[in-house]
């Protein structure tokens, strides 16, 4: 996905909409900035398919050499796919954070929107100020 077309949490998760099987599905990952800041990722814990997620709430965790950091969902909905190979191939997050480094796919809850998330420019501005 093109980073410019995505929306972002202040906590660095991105979300992009795609159509799969006639349904609008939200694809979620973490940005290149976050991957760089996390450095030396060693473990990742992901949710199960079917789990409900809520915008702003934890859906997973990552451990770098010194820290455990939560991952926050940018949207409300149900997890319909998990990138299960990612935990054993964490280098994918760094190699292709906006593509093969996707983490979960979410079927949006009724009425859920991407409103309130940062657009690309606002997100990049936040990163520049960090």
């Amino acid at each position: 996905m093109k980073p410019e077309s995505l929306r972002y949490n202040r906590s660095h998760e991105w979300v992009g909409m795609t159509e799969e099987g006639g349904e609008q599905i939200a694809v979620v990952g973490i940005s290149d900035f976050a991957v760089e800041q996390l450095t030396d990722l060693v473990y990742m814990a992901l949710p199960a398919v079917g789990q409900q997620v809520k915008a702003g709430q934890e859906f997973g965790e990552v451990e770098s050499v010194k820290a455990v950091s939560p991952l926050y969902s940018p949207v409300d909905g149900e997890v319909v796919a998990v990138h299960s190979q990612l935990a054993d191939n964490l280098e994918k997050l760094g190699e292709d954070p906006f593509g093969d480094g996707w983490i979960i796919k979410v079927k949006l809850a009724a009425g859920a929107t991407l409103d309130g998330l940062l657009d690309y420019e606002a997100y990049r501005k936040q990163c520049a100020e960090a």
Binding site: S11, A34, T39, K66, V68, S69, A130
Partner: protein
């Protein structure tokens, strides 16, 4: 910024983890720094958040000890002859990953103290795994099981001996840092030497754990001052409130879902 700092009495692993979790939440909500220095009421093995429960079986010397899983990362620690600290610091909601400046500032203050005591202490600056006969394969076979067998940037070492390590956990608006200082060798981790073995002349200080804990607390406070660039005024803080709050959190750390999460 307000800051609280206190020495706590020795408590069980569950209570210690519950109080630290309460501190993290309090720090996030009230935007205050909270530092607690403590010991453990009985020898306890604490697992890093992502470590496999089954890995503890392979570490024979600590196999019979009580076990608790920390919220912070890193390797397992045998809490027997150690002094532990927990530091909760408010953070921006857009902060991500480890905060190396925090452990570096605290560890530098401890390094300075150890040097004053006559030890050639420094912060470790290269990746390293110390091969020992006691070392066992850790989760996913990638790293050593025990924290004190691992080396990563910033660890406090004296020669080849790691005497202090720290690990962190982020919440939405705060960060918890756990650290442990190895005072003396334990029969539950016999390959690890502590300060007592490295510095026989300091036995007086090391024998009085309360005195030692208080000095450690003061040194960590200096590290926090250095980190923030100001001389912080510390208060003892709402200790009873943390304890009351922690009672509700003990169930989380006792739950099989938490204990055996990996």
């Amino acid at each position: 910024m307000d800051a609280y700092s206190f020495i706590d009495e020795p408590r069980s692993g569950l209570t210690n983890m519950a109080i630290d979790d309460a501190m993290l939440e309090y720090s996030d909500e009230h935007r205050v720094v909270v530092l607690r220095v403590y010991e453990w009421s009985e020898p306890t093995l604490s697992l890093g958040y992502f470590q496999r429960l089954s890995d503890r079986e392979a570490h024979v010397p600590s196999r019979e000890l009580q076990l608790v899983r920390r919220a912070t990362g890193g390797g397992a620690i045998v809490h027997h002859h150690d002094v532990t600290y927990a530091l909760a610091v408010p953070q921006s909601s857009s902060s991500v990953g480890a905060a190396p400046a925090i452990y570096s500032a605290l560890h530098e203050a401890v390094v300075k103290w150890l040097c004053e005591l006559g030890l050639a202490a420094k912060q470790w600056r290269e990746p390293y795994n110390l091969p020992t006969s006691e070392a066992v394969p850790a989760a996913h076979g990638k790293t050593e099981f025990l924290c004190f067998h691992r080396r990563s940037d910033g660890d406090v070492v004296v020669g080849e001996h790691k005497v202090m390590g720290s690990a962190q956990r982020r919440s939405k608006g705060a960060l918890l840092q756990h650290g442990s200082m190895l005072i003396a060798q334990s029969e539950h981790a016999p390959s690890l030497e502590g300060l007592q073995e490295l510095l026989p002349d300091a036995r007086g200080l090391l024998a009085n754990r309360r005195l030692f804990a208080d000095e450690l607390r003061l040194r960590i406070q200096r590290g926090i001052d250095s980190l923030l660039g100001v001389s912080v005024q510390y208060k003892s803080g709402p200790v009873q409130q943390f304890q009351e709050f922690a009672k509700f959190k003990e169930a989380k750390f006792a739950a099989e879902q938490w204990r055996a999460r990996a």
